[in-house]
Symmetry: C2
Subunit: 209 residues, 2 copies
Amino acid sequence: MNILENLNWRYATKKMNGTAVPQEKVDIILEAARLAPSSSGLQPFEIIVISNKELLEKIKPVANNQTQITDCSHLLVFAAWDTYTEERINEVFKRHSNERNMPESASDAYRMMLIGAYPNRPAEGNYQHAAKQAYISLGIAMAAAAELKVDATPMEGFNYPALDELLGLKEKGLRTAVILPLGYRDESDWLLNLKKVRTPKEKFITEIK
Amino acid sequence: MNILENLNWRYATKKMNGTAVPQEKVDIILEAARLAPSSSGLQPFEIIVISNKELLEKIKPVANNQTQITDCSHLLVFAAWDTYTEERINEVFKRHSNERNMPESASDAYRMMLIGAYPNRPAEGNYQHAAKQAYISLGIAMAAAAELKVDATPMEGFNYPALDELLGLKEKGLRTAVILPLGYRDESDWLLNLKKVRTPKEKFITEIK
C-alpha cells in the first residue's frame, strides 16, 4: 500500500472496539514520531504513552467523555516544552556533537544564536513553537499508524490544564500539545462510512510556474 | 520500503542539485498534504507551489540566502488562515453536507459551537492554531516525499512578513506557516553523511502501563 491509499483508509475514529494494538506496532509508530524532523533539531517535546486503564478512565472526563480515550489501547500524549532554555538547547547540541564525534565548538555559533534568540522570548510563544514541532511528529505518527492499519484519532478537544495536572507535566516543564489514541475502529462507528471530504484541489493548491 | 526506512533515508537537505522532481511525484506529495487530518476538518490553510525561477530568486534573500530555495524544483508554501471567520467555517460545513448528501441541519450544533468559539478569539491565536494544522500536513507531506525518494527540507528560517508580502498573502487572508523545498540532494551536501541524531528513546518516551 502506498501513502495515498493509507491516508484514504484512515479517518478520525470516534468509536474504537477495545482491541489492543500489538506492542511492536506501537513501537514502530513511536519510532516514526521520534524520527520526525524538528526546528534546529531540538525536538522540543516528549511522548507519554498511556495504557493504564485507571488513568485512561480519569482522562476521559477531562476529554469531554469521548469514548476513544478508554476504548483505545494506547493514548499518546504529545507534551511540548513549556519554553526553550539554555540548558535544554545545550543538552541537544552536546548530544549531536557526541554522537557525530565532532567538537562542540563546530556548532557553537549556531548554538549561541539560538540561545540568544529563544530563551529570551515569552514562554507562551516558545511553547507554541515547540507544539508546532510536536504536530509534525503527530502527522508522521498518523502516517505510520495508517501504514500499519492502526486507527489513530488526533484530538484537541480536552481540558489542557487539567490533563497537564493529571500527568504532572508542569513539574517536568512540559505542556500537552495534542493527544492521539491508538486502537481499532468499531464497525458501528457512525463516521466509518461517511465520505472523506477535503478542500478541493483547485482551492487548496495554487501553482506559480 | 516501510515508513521507518523512509524516515531514516530522509534528512533536511541543505544542498540540492537542481534536478526537477517529476510532476507526478509533486502531485502525490500535494495529495498527501491535502488528505492530512485537521482540527474539526476545517483545513485552515492552503499550499502555494512555486516553480517559477524568477520568483524563487526573489524569495532566496528573504530566506537568508539558503540555496535550497533556488536549487529545489518546487517550493511548497504552507499558508495558514490569518483567523477563523464565520464565512470560512460555514463554507467547510456546507461542502461536507453537500458531498455527504446530508442536510446541513445535521451538523448545525457543531458548526454553531465553532462559530461561537473561534471567530471571537484574537486573530493571532487563531492563526497559530491554523498553523499547527498546517504542520500536521507538513509532516505527512514529508513522509510522502520520503516514500518517493524526493528530498524535502522543512524551513522556518525566513522573514515571514516579507514572504507574505512577496506572495500577496495578506489580501487572501493568509499568512505563511512554514515552507518546504522539494528536490534532490547534492552528493556534496555536508549534512548528507552525518549521523541522524534524535532524543534517545528512554528520554523521548514515558510509558504508563
